[in-house]
């Protein structure tokens, strides 16, 4: 039972970390960033570079954030900016971008599956259950991501301007806020978060040039049902991620893989606002 609860909480933490970057980009830019999978991959490979250079495994996380931000800046400038008025095309273009990122990584790192060192290894005992320490660490990491985003949004001028742009962009512009700049910074941060999430999940498995794609769809679904609210995202990750763990454990892991997608699609049909209020 303890293990099941831990599985649910850690799975939700992972999903939350993975989806948060997508969420803030959708919130401010109103664009679904299908290159999110590519940014996750960049994060995974940042971890690989750190491993290959023989550096401290903890450095993978700042390295991933920096790599994501740099990549995000380039992408926003050349691909996203012309597509603000064409949200469906933006989905396609960012998907294409994901392919480009995957191929560039293949060219640089090869297409084989590689492994990244883990900063925390082993297991610990939680209420009498032996449980992976790294998965427990991910709960902390997700909480830190959530805290970081909340602090950024609520305690900084940029966060205030971003919230203003989310709520009413014309009015924000009328008050002298450069919404283009807000978008740019938000996209960079979103990309950095995605990349960080990629670095966080790789020690659980491995890196390969397409590692981000399987995460993309679940993250996308979670973000849609949370209607651009961080709290709703946490709820969505817990409930849908929890449902996934339950279905995987008690029915079949294969059907479990469907849980989030199916539940989210149905939820949106019944209640277009998802977990958000509206």
């Amino acid at each position: 039972m303890t293990a099941l609860v831990l599985d649910i909480v850690t799975t939700a933490a992972i999903l939350f970390a993975v989806a948060s970057g997508l969420l803030i980009i959708l919130g401010v830019l109103k664009i679904v960033n299908f290159a999110h999978g590519g940014f996750l991959t960049i994060g995974g490979y940042s971890g690989l570079v750190v491993t290959q250079l023989g550096l401290n495994a903890w450095l993978a996380y700042p390295a991933a954030v920096v790599a994501g931000i740099v990549m995000g800046a380039v992408v926003e400038r050349f691909v996203i900016r012309p597509l603000y008025d064409r949200p469906l095309d933006a989905i396609l273009a960012t998907w294409g971008l994901g392919i480009i990122i995957g191929q560039l990584i293949t060219i640089v790192f090869g297409r084989e599956i590689q492994f990244v060192q883990t900063p925390i290894t082993g297991a610990t005992s939680v209420f009498g259950e032996t449980y992976s320490l790294y998965r427990l660490f991910l709960i902390l990491a997700a909480a830190a991501v959530a805290g970081g985003i909340a602090a950024l949004l609520n305690a900084t001028r940029l966060g205030l301007e971003a919230r203003a742009v989310i709520m009413n962009e014309p009015l924000a512009r009328g008050l002298g806020i450069n919404s283009g700049h807000v978008r740019f910074v938000t996209f960079c941060i979103g990309a950095g978060l995605a990349s960080l999430a990629g670095a966080l999940i790789t020690p659980l498995s491995s890196v390969d040039p397409n590692m981000g794609v399987p995460w993309l769809v679940n993250a996308f679904m979670l973000v849609l049902v949370s209607s651009v609210s961080l709290a709703s995202l946490a709820i969505a990750a817990l409930t849908l991620g929890g449902a996934q763990v339950l279905v995987s454990t008690f029915i079949s892991p294969v059907i479990g893989g469907l849980t989030i997608v199916v539940l989210a699609a149905l939820l949106l049909r019944i209640r277009p606002a998802g977990f958000g209020h509206g």
């Binding site: 012309p82 949200p87 971008l97 191929q103 060219i107 297409r111 294969v254 049909r269």
Partner: protein, 610 residues
């Protein structure tokens, strides 16, 4: 009478019949090419092309859904997969025979039709966001693949099924069959999208909301289209399974679904030929190059794709086509687009108007309320309106005038109260149903179909009453007398072949009015029909309206800011203020009202000069 005609900046669009012969001859040439192909091509290329043809057929269905009807779908891969697995499973467990071959085909068609219907039912509902269908169709292949995985040994899970017996055909025979199939399909698709029905699809893509207010059940049209396209994709998948003797989850996967969309985007969405050529070219080139430059090749495709989406959203083929056409007209010094015939306007049969002979008031509104969250836009609105009444609705900004129009024409809008049209309550009826009750509505901001011609727009308004043709154009266009009078009075009858976006603003307003009248409504809701018009144009529209109400006994509600205009044409005026009916009375009463004056001029606390 003033004339709204302006000289159009561009020539009318080429007609269907004018393009029939070239289309036929191109199709013929293609058939010759696929029959002769195996004699000229090496066996590897022939081999690859069979697969490309099947992919191209599937891409074609994506193009019709996305390029024409505006439904961005990642789900056609799933239907391809369903068709393929129907064949794979049937042939593996029941062996191959002519009977099982037919059975597998029918099973694939049936399953994909049912799945498509369910998908459509989930995706297309009144007021669904266009992103939602993309989400559902994105989920579809993911679900299919997981279902295939969970099928264990029955579906072969990750390995798929292989080595079953199948059609005993040579590669060359497959080439010819698939090639001819593709040409026939493309030609049929060409007739389909250029038919009256094809125009309907484009109209739904461009302005679905307007379509529903023309009484067109857009969700149903889209579901039907999705079912048919799913069945076509399923046949392509079936042929794929028969040809390759392998079915694996990859062919029904999300990645294949996105590849189809990429091919369509690169070739040129909404061009049919673009996606077909694009798919074949990319698949064949990648078969040759992926061995030598595997990563670079995919990188090139990805980069071109992003570039095309950002810089050339219409795709590559249309760009080439424009270039070629320019060359052609430069060489021949002739314009490539000749002037063409338009449908003949004829009289529509009388007497189909709803509510004729009914004793109930044309419109009976009781205790109507509408709120968004805590914001009450309308509250306790009640009034009756009869035939031959021209009711002006006035009130300051934010009084709830347009919301009232919405609540009268869409059963989902109001949050309280009842609306009855000739005694029939509109309940929770979507706009297309309310049109059936006899309500016709025009919009505050011109709401037309940019790339449709005037004649096509009018035909669209007749879809509810007259139906449409699937593969051709009707030679005539039946319109009721009222619509014809608007058209002739404004000179629109001379511009039937002009695309709406080239019309002047005044002409657009006139066309909008003519379209609403073509619905043969009994109750007319007009939201600022003269906004942005010049004085002579206003006068013309006003006189037409008065004439209509008097001659045909229409019950007409009109929102206007220009009070002089309202005063001239109305028989009665309702004043809305802060969501409530402030005054309901004759023109004289309202105009003379002190209350109205203060609201309009603001200075409630001051004595005003007379």
């Amino acid at each position: 009478m003033a004339d709204l005609t302006t000289t159009p900046a561009t020539l009318p669009r080429r007609a269907f019949s004018g393009r029939l012969v070239p289309a036929g001859s191109i199709a013929g040439l293609c058939i010759v090419a696929v029959v002769a192909g195996p004699y000229f091509l090496d066996s590897y290329t022939v081999n690859i092309l069979v697969r490309s043809f099947l992919y191209a057929a599937t891409a074609l269905t994506v193009d019709i859904l996305w390029g024409y009807a505006g439904i961005l779908t990642f789900g056609q891969a799933a239907f391809f997969g369903i068709g393929a697995y129907a064949a794979g499973i049937t042939f593996t467990y029941m062996d191959f025979s002519p009977q099982t071959a037919v059975l597998a085909l029918l099973a694939g068609l049936a399953v994909s039709a049912v799945v498509a219907w369910i998908t459509g039912w989930i995706s297309f509902f009144h007021r669904a966001s266009p992103l939602y269908v993309a989400i559902v169709t994105l989920a579809l292949p993911i679900i299919l693949v997981q279902v295939l995985y969970s099928g264990g040994t029955f579906t072969g899970s990750s390995s798929g099924l292989v080595g079953y017996n199948t059609f005993d055909l040579s590669v060359e025979a497959w080439f010819t069959i698939c090639g001819i199939g593709l040409v026939v399909l493309t030609t049929a698709a060409w007739f389909f999208v250029n038919s009256d029905f094809g125009r309907l699809l484009i109209a739904i893509r461009e302005n679905e909301q307007r379509c529903t207010y023309l009484g067109i059940n857009a969700p149903r049209v889209k579901i039907l289209l999705m079912v048919v396209m799913a069945m076509i994709a399923s046949v392509a998948g079936y042929a794929y399974a028969g040809y390759t003797v392998v079915v694996a989850p990859e062919i029904g996967s999300f990645v294949f679904g996105t590849e189809l969309v990429m091919w369509v985007a690169l070739g040129g969405r909404g061009t049919l030929i673009g996606p077909v050529l694009g798919t074949i070219a990319i698949d064949v080139i990648s078969a040759y190059l992926s061995g030598n430059l595997p990563y670079v090749w995919k990188l090139i495709i990805g980069s071109i794709f992003v570039l095309v989406i950002v810089a050339l959203p219409q795709g590559i083929v249309p760009v080439l086509k424009t270039g070629l056409r320019r060359l052609w007209s430069a060489a021949t010094r002739r314009d490539a687009a000749p002037c063409v015939a338009v449908p003949a306007l004829i009289e529509a049969p009388e007497g189909r108007r709803a509510g004729t002979g009914s004793d109930a008031p044309a419109l009976n509104v009781a205790d109507l309320a509408c709120s968004y969250g805590s914001l009450k836009v309308l509250e306790g609105v009640a009034f009756k309106a009869l035939g031959s009444e021209l009711l002006g609705i006035i009130g300051p900004n934010g009084a709830g005038k347009t919301t009232l129009m919405r609540c009268l024409s869409d059963g989902y809008e109001r949050t309280g109260g009842t609306v009855a049209v000739f005694g029939h309550a509109i309940a929770r009826t979507p706009p297309q149903g309310v049109v059936g009750l006899g309500i016709g509505r025009s919009f505050q901001t011109t709401s037309l179909f940019e790339t449709l011609t005037v004649a096509e727009s009018l035909r669209l308004a007749r879809y509810r009453l007259d139906g449409t043709r699937m593969l051709s154009h009707a030679p005539t266009l039946a319109l009721p007398d009222s619509a014809r009078r608007v058209i002739t009075a404004t000179g629109l009858d001379r511009q039937l072949a002009i695309e709406c976006r080239h019309l002047s603003h005044g002409m657009k307003r006139a066309l909008e009015l003519a379209m609403v009248l073509a619905l043969e409504p009994s109750v007319l809701l007009l939201d600022e029909p003269t906004a942005g018009l010049t004085k002579p144009e206003r006068t013309l529209i006003g006189s037409i309206l008065v004439d209509l109400v008097q001659r045909e006994g229409l019950c007409t509600l009109i929102i206007e800011h220009d009070l002089d205009f309202v005063r001239e044409i109305s028989t009665r005026i309702i004043v809305l203020h802060q969501g409530k009916v402030l005054l309901d009375g004759s023109v004289a009463e309202v105009v003379g009202s002190e209350l109205v004056r203060t609201i309009y001029a603001g200075g409630a606390h001051q004595e005003l000069a007379p």
